[in-house]
């Protein structure tokens, strides 16, 4: 448990998020639309009058319920999510939005909506490359998405309301960036697991409340903490989806601090504002498609597509990088050897944890993390 009261509050809220969202749904009379991944803008869901809810898995829980509908060789996160749906834990969802972020989630969409249809469902199709034709496709897809939401909720997504909503979400982004900057300190003023706990609350809390939570966190840290305590090795975590703090905690227990990240729920989504330009659809396209760095999008060969990770590693003064890849996750597995080599060239050692979304066997993972942290310690000692 974190000694930061704000983080403890976030953890408490997150632990009961299904119940809270159902309450919110009852009180407001607004439908809840579950989503995975960030290509289809949650801002639009809100403006249409629905409650966006980022669906998360429960790492390590058995997924055997899924066996009757999908093969064992599927991303274990996807199987885990579908098992939740089959267990009835997501019955409160009125709608489902899944982006074609990778093959596996795209297929999850088909299987889910076939066997467990929902009042509203939408696959948001996303091109695999950034080309002029892909950009145009993405913009049309945004408009289809807008239209389908409006049809479902009966509420028009006006330009004014969308601009307001984007402005609000940009305020959130700014606070998150401030929190990230606290990790530039050595030791960091907020731990990786704490940061993730806060971010997870953003997946379902109403934005006004989320903003408040972030502001409280900033204030609390400003009052309580100064750079003190042991200076431990600093790591950046890269890889597949991490929607549970357990892995960051394991790293912290092994004696390192997670100070930066490049994965689905992390800096990637918040590092830039959505420009409040004249054409908001274009702005959403730029933000959620062009600027959103994820290995599922082909940005051509060469090292340029890894440079931002190296820059971030330098900016946050990390000692090494820990990769976390969920089994059968092709987009990340393809990039790993190149990323590892480019990082090594730039002086950053990398450890890869290949996991089936269970962080188990914990002992074995812990041992590898500890060995890596020892290595980083000796590296830091040498360079300082």
């Amino acid at each position: 448990m974190s000694e930061l009261a704000t983080v403890a509050r976030a953890a408490e809220l997150n632990a009961q998020k299904e119940a809270h969202v159902q309450e919110l749904r009852r009180e407001s009379g607004r439908p809840v639309i579950g989503y995975l991944c960030c290509f289809a803008p949650p801002e639009m869901i809100r403006v249409a009058g629905a409650i966006p809810y980022r669906i998360t898995g429960r790492p390590g829980e058995p997924t055997s319920e899924a066996d009757a509908y999908m093969e064992p060789y599927g991303c274990s996160y996807v199987r885990n999510i579908f098992a939740q749906a089959l267990k009835g834990r997501l019955d409160f969802l009125d709608g489902l939005v899944i982006s074609h972020s990778c093959d596996m989630v795209q297929r999850l969409y088909g299987i889910w909506t076939y066997y467990r249809p929902l009042p509203y469902s939408r696959l948001f199709n996303v091109p695999h490359q950034v080309t002029p034709q892909a950009e145009r496709f993405f913009m049309r897809e945004l408009l289809f998405f807008k239209e389908s939401l409006e049809q479902f909720t009966g509420q028009e997504i006006t330009k004014e309301r969308l601009a307001e909503e984007i402005a609000l979400s940009n305020r959130i982004r700014a606070r998150i960036r401030e929190l990230y900057r606290l990790r530039l300190e050595h030791p960091p003023l907020i731990r990786g697991s704490e940061m993730l706990e806060l971010l997870l609350a953003g997946g379902w809390l109403p934005p006004e409340e989320f903003l408040k939570l972030l502001e409280d966190a900033l204030e609390e840290i400003g009052k309580k903490r100064a750079a003190q305590g042991p200076q431990r090795p600093r790591v950046l975590v890269w890889g597949s989806l991490l929607d549970d703090v357990a892995f960051y905690r394991m790293i912290e227990e092994a004696g390192a601090d997670v100070v930066a990240d490049d994965n689905c729920i992390g800096f990637r989504v918040f590092e830039k504002d959505i420009p409040l330009s004249e054409d908001l659809v274009e702005a959403l396209k730029d933000h959620y498609f062009i600027n959103f760095q994820c290995p599922r999008t082909d940005r051509g060969p060469g090292r340029a597509r890894f440079d931002y990770i190296i820059q971030r590693a330098q900016e946050y003064n990390v000692d090494g990088v820990i990769g976390y890849i969920i089994s059968f996750c092709d987009p990340h597995k393809f990039d790993y050897p190149d990323l590892r080599d480019y990082l090594r060239e730039s002086g950053f050692p990398m450890l890869l944890i290949d996991d089936n979304y269970s962080f188990a066997p914990a002992g074995a993972i812990q041992t590898r993390l500890q060995a890596f942290v020892e290595l980083l310690k000796s590296g830091r000692a040498l360079s300082s």
Binding site: C102, G110, L123, Q129, G300
Partner: protein, 444 residues
């Protein structure tokens, strides 16, 4: 690993046996041209071979190279080399086969001598990828061009509509076809840039006409397999698709498919089946185990014949107006996507293939297929490393069960024989045959 007794496959048709002469002749011609340093493209299924032909470009298919390495049992060497570089054993083994090949090539400074075809795959001057059907297929060339071969890449990215939107809605059709058209245009511009040639539309039109003629014979051949007894099985099927990849648009391919059509028709008329006493008629789902195509002969020895396959199955989509040949490619791609959509794409929506290969039997189509091909059962190859083609089989099994058709799902791989065990597979096949024996044939 003990050698599998299912390695050697027996082809039944005269025409496919003749491929033994035809293909090497073709490869030799290509090899000669390669030595004169003409531009060479490595391509993926999804790239229209007709377009390559219109540019008179030399091309190779790493995927097909994977199947050849698999059938000659050298794939594991290449796959292990790629694994040594950090590529996960979970990745598509066609991919890791090529990666390992490239790695050894780079290390040794010459094409690896383990290559099962003389000269191996040549030194490409460009990579033409396609994201149709799976994401490994664009990450793959991205990685090759990053790590091993510094050459330009164009990956086409045809997207298909999800199962719950209506592709007949003109707005939806317009949305997807615009992407297809612009993507194809991008491919043409890339080819023009890197070959220094301008696309000759008249030539492309002629090539398409020849290609579609060959494909029409092939489609009609496949329909002949509805006959009882089944005149053609899977070993011939999986052999006879190869000319589609290399020789479409040539008269030789038209001749080949015409000949196969007549041979199969003749067998139907004379009631010559693949097995002496046909007891079970099956549908095959998934990629074949290329290293053990004799598996199909093994099934035949038990009186079971594969009458239809879900993969590479060509459809009716190519009868399009060739006036504007590029638009014709868009149209055939879209028509097939719509057809597949009607047949049910809830688990495999990405079937938007601009090339000549078809593939996939959607779940809504099952009833029709079961009836028309008088099927008694389904065998599904769950390929651990190719989730793109095998993910969805459990759902298909569920749908088949509703029709009273039993399925056998067995796990192995298309290129890596290390996951295969004769003994285990035989046990499972025997148990499955008993299940089928307990039921009356679906078509009777």
């Amino acid at each position: 690993m003990t050698a599998s007794e299912m390695r050697r496959a027996k082809r039944h048709l005269e025409t496919t046996r003749k491929m033994k002469d035809m293909l090497p002749r073709f490869f030799m011609r290509a090899l000669e041209r390669r030595f004169s340093n003409e531009p060479l493209a490595w391509c993926m299924v999804g790239v229209p071979p007709e377009l390559l032909k219109a540019f008179d470009l030399l091309w190779e298919w790493p995927e097909n190279f994977g199947t050849i390495c698999a059938s000659r049992l050298v794939a594991p060497d290449f796959i292990k080399a790629a694994e040594g570089d950090g590529y996960s054993p979970e990745l598509c083994t066609y991919v890791t086969n090529t990666m390992g090949y490239c790695k050894l090539w780079k290390e040794r400074g010459e094409p690896p001598e383990e290559s099962p075809i003389p000269g191996g795959m040549g030194n490409p001057s460009m990579l033409l990828g396609s994201g149709f059907i799976c994401e490994p297929r664009y990450k793959w060339f991205q990685a090759i061009a990053t790590r091993y071969l510094d050459v330009p890449v164009y990956s086409s990215d045809p997207l298909a509509p999800p199962w719950d939107v209506d592709p007949h809605d003109p707005r939806i059709a317009g949305h997807y076809k615009a992407l297809l058209r612009e993507d194809l245009q991008g491919q043409v511009e890339f080819l023009e840039r890197h070959t220094g040639k301008k696309l000759d539309l008249d030539l492309l039109r002629e090539i398409l006409a020849l290609s579609h003629k060959a494909l029409a014979y092939w489609r009609d051949t496949l329909y002949l397999r509805k006959a009882i007894p089944c005149p053609m099985g899977a070993t011939d099927y999986f052999s006879a698709i190869i000319p589609q990849m290399y020789m479409v648009g040539e008269q030789e391919a038209v001749d080949f498919y015409r000949e196969i059509y007549h041979e199969v028709k003749d067998r139907v008329e004379r009631k010559i089946g693949i097995v002496e006493e046909e007891k079970y008629r099956l549908i095959w789902f998934g990629l074949p185990p290329w290293f053990n195509l004799g598996f199909f002969n093994y099934l035949e020895s038990l009186g079971a014949v594969v009458a239809i396959e879900s993969t590479y199955n060509v459809g009716d989509w190519f009868e399009v107006d060739l006036d504007d040949p590029l638009e014709a490619i868009v149209e055939r791609t879209w028509r097939r996507a719509v057809k597949m959509h009607e047949y049910g794409t809830e688990v495999m929506p990405e079937l938007c293939n601009p090339a000549v290969f078809g593939g996939f039997v959607g779940s809504r189509m099952l009833e029709e297929v079961v009836r028309e091909y008088s099927l008694n059962g389904a065998i599904m190859h769950l390929t651990r490393s190719c989730r793109a083609v095998s993910f969805g089989e459990v759902h298909t099994r569920n749908r088949l069960a509703e029709l009273g058709v039993p399925s056998l799902i067995f796990e192995s791989d298309m290129a890596d024989p290390r996951l295969w065990s004769d003994a285990q597979i035989k046990t499972r096949v025997h148990a499955f045959i008993e299940t089928m024996a307990g039921r009356s044939p679906a078509g009777s």
